[in-house]
Amino acid sequence: MTAMLTATPGQTVGPFFSYALPFDRGHELVPPGSPGSIRFHGVVTDGDGTPVPDALLEIWQADADGTVPTATGALRRDGWTFTGWGRAATDDEGHYSFSTVPPGATNPAAAPFILVTVFARGLLNRLFTRAYLPGEHLAADPLLASLPAERRDTLIATQEPTGFRFDVSLQGPRETVFLRYPGHRA
């Protein structure tokens, strides 16, 4: 469906968001170390491979059985309710980290992914990407199939003993694939 109205432009999150947007336990979709929890983390780098210490990432995902959460309370975490959404700023080494659960597939044919949004000083509009969990089900995913192999890999998280690693490269030889959805215009 073609939108009738032109969207308001985005702007950079700027350098001064860290006292405003991050909130207590924002990066803890589930308490770290709780049964079934995983770590989802990585480093954000720029075109020189230098870590980006002033980026903000948000993730949005289904729960472990593939249900899309509808519970409120992400901003006031009670430690029990899974809201599916979290927010984490990068640290001085460009590193971000969430504790969450591995998302289930929202339908039996789909490859599960965590939706990642990136904001940063110097980045004039937000970027969307998907972090797929590694596994054989990826072969049938239409988005992954539409990418050359070397670019496809930027969307697949790496399994680790404690969870998954997903590095984000804003620019450069391993530039992450960022997404444009049908409603988005230049």
């Binding site: 469906m1 939108a3 009738m4 109205l5 032109t6 969207a7 308001t8 432009p9 985005g10 702007q11 950079t12 999150v13 700027g14 350098p15 001064f16 006292y19 405003a20 947007l21 075109g47 980006v52 948000e58 949005w60 289904a62 899309v68 959460p69 519970a71 409120t72 309370g73 901003l75 809201t83 599916g84 597939a105 929202t106 339908n107 789909a110 992914f113 939706l115 904001f119 000083r121 110097g122 980045l123 004039l124 509009n125 937000r126 969307f128 988005l143 539409s146 804003l170 620019q171 530039e175 992450t176 960022f178 997404l179 444009r180 959805y181 049908p182 409603g183 988005h184 215009r185 230049a186």
Partner: protein
Amino acid sequence: MPSVATSSDGAATSQAEVSAEIEAIEAAYQRAGVEETQPRLDYAPYRSSLLRHPTKDLHHADPEGVELWTPCFGPRDVGALEADLTIGQRGEPIGERMVVTGRVVDGDGRPVRRQLVEIWQANAAGRYIHQRDQHPAPVDPNFTGTGRCLTDDDGYYRFTTIKPGPYPWKNHRNAWRPAHIHFSLFGTEFTQRMITQMYFPGDPLFALDPIYQAITDRKARDRLVATYDHDVTTHEWATGYRWDVVLTGASRTPMEDS
């Protein structure tokens, strides 16, 4: 092609040089004749963007699964007092008390109901409560400059705050940002997520600012400028501004939304 700096160290560059780059890009945009509605990610006059913009085209994705849905927020997340940035401290903040209100709609004009809106801003002197802000203007002990609210059943948000001041930054020599309020918005689908900045009408710094001018289209830039509205202004209390937000089109239809 105009020559542009390749370093993000802008201290030696003058405003005149940056303004010339801005004007050259806008002139080329107008010659090209293809309408743009969003900021360019690759916009050299904003030096910090040089190494932080993707060089490859954004890849088309048909939204699926969680992309068709959005996080839910409720009264448990946002207290009613968080929409008033002038209270909650020991005293009154200094500056022009103002109300900013508007409506959040999707690309089809449907109101975005009961959804989170977050703002943050400098104080009246142009200073943020942030340790990295070294601008030698006074911190206001009665103003943190952060607020949150949920839109109402018609998609309206409303904040009471202090009009922010312009402030200097280090993009180039004598660089100043126009006064602005940062807005963070969610839609009915996560692909509508956006963060932007709201500006004030008639700001003399508009033409000089590479962040604002990264939106090469004049009509599109104007969408970030609030309107002074005397019907929002209240008697002997606060000035009033109106600023509406249109998010990108949603993929789900209202029927599916039930």
